[in-house]
Symmetry: C2
Subunit: 200 residues, 2 copies
DNA sequence: ATAGTTTTAGAGACTACTCTCTAAAACCAA
DNA sequence: TTGGTTTTAGAGAGTAGTCTCTAAAACTAT
């Protein structure tokens, strides 16, 4: 029977998140995580083969959380006029889960990883990229987006605009303002106006 | 009479930009800049007292370039329906000056600087923050934005939306798609619809 | 030629990080 | 008690970055 852990994986990843958000990417080192957690660096390396693996896991945790949250909204969206539900869902997710949102929306994985995606998580990462792609493809089919321009417009509405609304508050460690969902809805309405016209 | 420089300040900053964009923030070191430029590190440190000063100067160069470009558009915008000119001007600037745009729009200064803004450039940075604030305040006055909500909406239209439209192509080293200005215009139209109604 | 000034050049001190390694601790089972 | 397994613990090898320092180069003026 093995010695029990003193530190859970989530605790380690939470400390890493905190360091990233409070002190920036350069502060995100295994030494700093260990120091802040009160764990020896050998313990961290025992769990995560490399610094990049720790970062990648932190990132994937946020991505998976986001996808889990947003997927049901995607899957129940049938028309262009419903798309705004997804857009606002992104904002609401960022509001409710700022830690994950700060990781996912304020930094790119490639900027955080020093040597790219570690082998251990390549498939897991691919799976999430695929998962989002499938969500988007199915949505395009359901709402009737066929051309590249229509798809681009849809992607702008779903991901880029909500991102625009939350990035500054997130970077200040604040919640998005109360009217953020309405702002996003208005922008999305403007962007999709052309497409809903095409569909009528 | 002093020995002439072999390397100009702009050359040094250009190499730094290239490193940031090609290899990410962690690759942005004085050692790497020196190596890529073929200059001794002593020369770089002779010019820039610290790594953070080099980064700060690279950042400010991009900010000042952007402000120089966007200020005339700000200053000639009088009505809500003209605001879209600013929004599209941001996209066009990013399209024409990708190097500066990549620095300014894909990374936050705080994420790049290890120890915050160096004393040498605090005032210069403050001046640019002030400059933007003045532009925005004057615009609010001219178009008639009075409440915090109106101002928020205006800021969303001017900065956040264009930014969202260019960040992914920029991060891939690509130009924004040809329809980006139209996408932004539609989103901004949606966002400002409420304000133009209030004004009539 | 010497003096003055600025810039290049590169060695090296120092630091912090990454990661490996060894050993011990902590648990249960036999 | 011994054995097995997993985890903690922490020393230390190796590396790369930051930055200081010394010296020389490169120019013009006197």
């Amino acid at each position: 029977m093995a010695r029990p852990s003193k530190f859970s994986t989530d605790e380690i990843l939470d400390v890493a998140c905190g360091l990233l958000l409070d002190d920036g990417p350069a502060a995100l080192t295994v030494s700093a995580v260990a120091r802040n957690l009160g764990a020896p660096s050998g313990s961290i390396y025992h769990r995560f083969n490399s610094r990049d693996l720790l970062i990648a896991m932190m990132w994937l945790r946020a991505v998976e959380h986001f996808h889990q949250h947003i997927e049901p909204i995607f899957d129940t969206t049938e028309t262009y006029s419903d798309v705004v539900r997804i857009s606002c869902g992104v904002v609401t997710w960022a509001r409710e889960f700022p830690l994950h949102a700060q990781v996912l929306l304020l930094h790119s994985a490639s900027a955080l990883l020093h040597d790219g995606w570690p082998d251990e998580v390549i498939e897991r990462n691919q799976a999430q990229l695929q998962r989002l792609q499938v969500m988007q493809n199915k949505l395009c089919k359901r709402v009737g987006a066929k051309t590249a321009a229509q798809k681009r417009r849809l992607g702008f509405a779903i991901m880029d605009i909500p991102y625009a609304a939350v990035r500054l508050p997130l970077s200040r460690g604040e919640a998005p303002s109360k009217d953020s969902e309405q702002l996003v809805a208005d922008a999305v309405t403007g962007v999709l106006a052309a497409l809903t016209k095409e569909n009528t």
